[in-house]
Each structure stands twice: as C-alpha cells, then as structure tokens.
Symmetry: C2
Subunit: 309 residues, 2 copies
Amino acid sequence: MINKLVAKIKITKAPIVVGLDPMLSYVPEHIQKKAFAEYGETLEGAAEAIWQYNKEIIDHIWDLIPAVKPQIAMYEQFGIEGLKAFQKTVDYCHEKDLVVIGDVKRGDIGSTSAAYAVGHLGRVQIGSKSYTGFNEDFATVNPYLGSDGIKPFIDVCKEEKKGLFILVKTSNPSSGEFQDRLIDGRPLYEYVGEQVAEWGSGHMGDSYSYIGAVVGATYPEEGKILRKVMPKSFILVPGYGAQGGKGADLVHYFNEDGLGAIVNSSRGIIAAYKQEQYAGFGGEHFAEASRQAVEDMIADIDGALQAAK
Amino acid sequence: MINKLVAKIKITKAPIVVGLDPMLSYVPEHIQKKAFAEYGETLEGAAEAIWQYNKEIIDHIWDLIPAVKPQIAMYEQFGIEGLKAFQKTVDYCHEKDLVVIGDVKRGDIGSTSAAYAVGHLGRVQIGSKSYTGFNEDFATVNPYLGSDGIKPFIDVCKEEKKGLFILVKTSNPSSGEFQDRLIDGRPLYEYVGEQVAEWGSGHMGDSYSYIGAVVGATYPEEGKILRKVMPKSFILVPGYGAQGGKGADLVHYFNEDGLGAIVNSSRGIIAAYKQEQYAGFGGEHFAEASRQAVEDMIADIDGALQAAK
C-alpha cells in the first residue's frame, strides 16, 4: 500500500491528504435539512448528513489527490450510526481508488492491539470464513505502550500489505508536555522516532517503509530533525492550514526525491466555504470551494518545494 | 460516578472489575453453534455469540462486583456488528446497575478528543435534540498528546458526572520502552502520574477524584511509588491473573482506607472454564466457573489486604 501511495502522489503531483473530519456544524444547511426531513433530528439523521456531505466533497476532489484521512472520532460521536457513515465513507473512497488513512490513533497491547489491527486493517476469522471490518489502508497508532502495542499492528500490515503512521510529535500546543521531555539531553519524540525507524527498517516497500510517522506541521524544526532520524519513513503531517502550518514551513519534512511526506488538511478543505477566501462559493457550492482549496494547497506546497530546490 | 464506584466497592467488599474482553475462541461451542445456526458464520453471528456469552457471564456475577470493563477492541474487530454487541453489553450492565469502564484507550486533541468524549461519555447535540452514543461511565485514555488531549474528556466528565482512567504505567512487558525513560533521574511515568494528580485535584468526588490512572499489576514497585504520587486518584490495575499479577503484589496500590484501587481480571474470569482449576465446570457451565473465579479473586485480594493491615 505504501507503493500505491507513492505512485499516486507521483501521478497527482500532490503530496497531500484530505482529512474527512465532518463536524455537523460544517455541513451546509440544505444537506442537514434534507437528512433531518428524512430521518428526523436523530443519530441516523446526523449520520446521513455527514455521509452526504462527505460524498459530495469526494466527488469533487478525488481526481486531484492520492489519499483521504477520515478521523473516526467525528463518526464515533454519533455511535453506531456514525460508524456506519465512517464505513460508507471508507468504501466510497475505495471505489474512487483513493488510499484511505484511518485516523484512529488506537493503541493497546498484545491480543487487544491485534484485535484493533484486524478490525481496521485486516480480516477477522469467523469459523471457516473471514471478513474485513472497517478495511482502511493505513491506520494511525499511539506508541505510548511500546513494542507490544505496535508489533501486532505490524504483523497485520505485513500480511495484508497495509501500513501505519505512528504518533511521534503531534501538532497540538501541549504536545511537548511529555513528547519534549529530555532524556540524556534528547527529547522523547526523538527516541520514538528512532524506534519508528527501527520498526520500519524490516518492513519496506520499494523505496519507503510501510511503517510511517506522524509529525505535526506546527513544529518545523522538530520535523527537520525527525526527517533525518527516520529517512525511510513516510511522514504524515497534520496541522497545515487551520492549525497554522504553511507550505514554506514543510519543505524539510520531504526528502531530496521530493517524497517522504504527505500533508493533511481537514477543516481547511472540507469547510473551505466557511472561510472568507472561499465564501463566494456559498453553502450550496461547498464542494466546489473544497476543490478550489485543494488546488490552492497543492500550489502552495508545490511552490514551496520548487523554491527550496 | 466515582462516588458510585466507591460506594459499590464498599457494599460488595470487592475492589475488582471484570474485563469483558471476549475472544471468539473463549465462547463455548454450544453458544457459537446456536449463533451461527441463526446468523451463519458471519460478523452478525460472531457478534451474537459474544453478546450471549457476555450476557450469561453478567447474569452469574453481577451481584458480586461493582464494575465491568469491556475492551472495545474485541468488539471493534467485528466491525459495526461487533460494536452493536458492545453497546448491548454496556446497556445490559447498566440494567444490572454495574459501573461500566469503557476500555477504549482513546486520545486525540481538541475537538477530536471532545468528539470521543461525547461519543463514549457524553451526549451529542443534533439540532434541538441530544443523544448518548456508547454511554460508558468511565473511559480509559492515552496521555501521549498532553493536556490538549485530556481536557476535552475532563470537561465532558465534569458535565456528565463521569470519569477517566489515564494510562500511566501499563502492564505489558515492553511498557518501559518509553514510560520508564529517565528525565532528570525520574521515569516518564512519574511525570505522567504527577500530571494525572494535578488534573484530578480540581475534579474531586467525595473522597477520590474522578480522574484516575491505569497502573499495571505487573509492576508492584512502580505501583507503590505511583500510589504516593497520586494519593487522590483511583488506580485501575490491569494484569492480575492471566498476565501474572497476584493479590499479595497489589496491597500497595491501595490507600490506608482500603480504597483507591480497582483490580481488573479479564480472561481469568470470563474464560475461567478453560483453566485447569475450573475445568470441572465444563463448557456448558462456563458462567458458573466465572462466578467461582470472581469469588476466588475477591478472597485473594481481600486476604492480601487483611494480611497487610
């Protein structure tokens, strides 16, 4: 799957991923109204609204981008009905041949991590048959529990040709509380990055490992260091746009081959029509605003990469 | 909810929690056969099997214990159908007035953590109405992302009178890879424990905070230290039984009031009938074996606490 991700980035010339993190407040009124008219102001109605919203966005942007990253929390908040919308979204993105990164940030130990891995990336055995659960292509995972928590995910990835992005340095303001603590003069995130590089070294695609890392766009200095600590790991970079990251900050997350990183924007794309810059599209044409925002993001990052050459 | 947990521990004289972590391989053949006859060897069939298995165990042990801890990964591996079984299990435990600790180990930032908190502990607003998602009483959360990740959970807990158990020192063999790293001569888990105590200090029930911690039974020395670092935090202690922890190891997880900790056993209770000690019950009477295992666990821990007085 890492090879497919790299190939699609080369074809689209877009090292970006769109975060499908729908808040109900992002969904334009006409879509909410229609969903509530059909299902009422219920969990089902909300799930229908975010699914229709996602679908229209995907229909407008799928040809521009290699990958999407649905954030499962935004669906999980609506319980079972929300998770059905998550599953529909994953399946629909696969129909459009998009790589799907499940932003699930799961992490546990042993058989429990194995169960998460099976549910999100693998197949569960039931008697003589086997089934996929949510069937994403990559999943984000949390490293706090150590190798026991990560290895069951890696095993499933190896078998299913899937991949991981392991949290190393997250984009939020308080990420330093634990991640920046100094151990023999070096921050914890560097140790985690080294471990990601080690986990990844035995699990390579053609040019990159399928065990990648998450490093926030909001910490470009740290990104520069971590790029070197994990030369063969793809870096998933959240925090672009709404969280404050800009293309020019991100050039050091990439290797000299112009690859090695994929930059996420969520709200900045899916709720573009709510920004002043794209307000002209209006709520009815929200998905066209998203397409424009994707094109602008690609230009910003491409411009920064060209300028850095 | 922390007051209810404390009250129920006092009434049952059982500072224990039973982990409802059903693997399909634990479910006795007669239950699997019946479920598969009705639904086929499908995700639905597997979900029905684990639900019936859970229900029979709960029916046999609910009066002995204060709380249960369903591990969501074991349900999530069966996709939507598995999560329906999770929800049914939570609801059924509430019918039996059990405190439900959702072992979900979620953790993200800002609005994403808020969405998880709403989905598991709170209510989601849809138009003029609001709904619960999975509606557990406590949730386990991962601290790697720092305060930004934890505070949205705390806010929901405060509003809904729910609670958290934050991972501090986990029970698995490799938990030390990051958690034991020394920062100015003290391990990371101590800093996390201090932070838990701080988060908890502003969020108190009558005698304990509703912001608790997870400290594995397999690290009794660390447990002893962490008990002092977090005097007002309830400690959820996994790793008893199948993972190697014994009652005598656990006395220092408790305060002098005999409270402050709740010890989890999962496989050791729910799959007791598979152990030599309880094999006499047989698969047909698996839930009676679970009841016996609960009684033995209570006696072990109570004996250890009495001996330590």
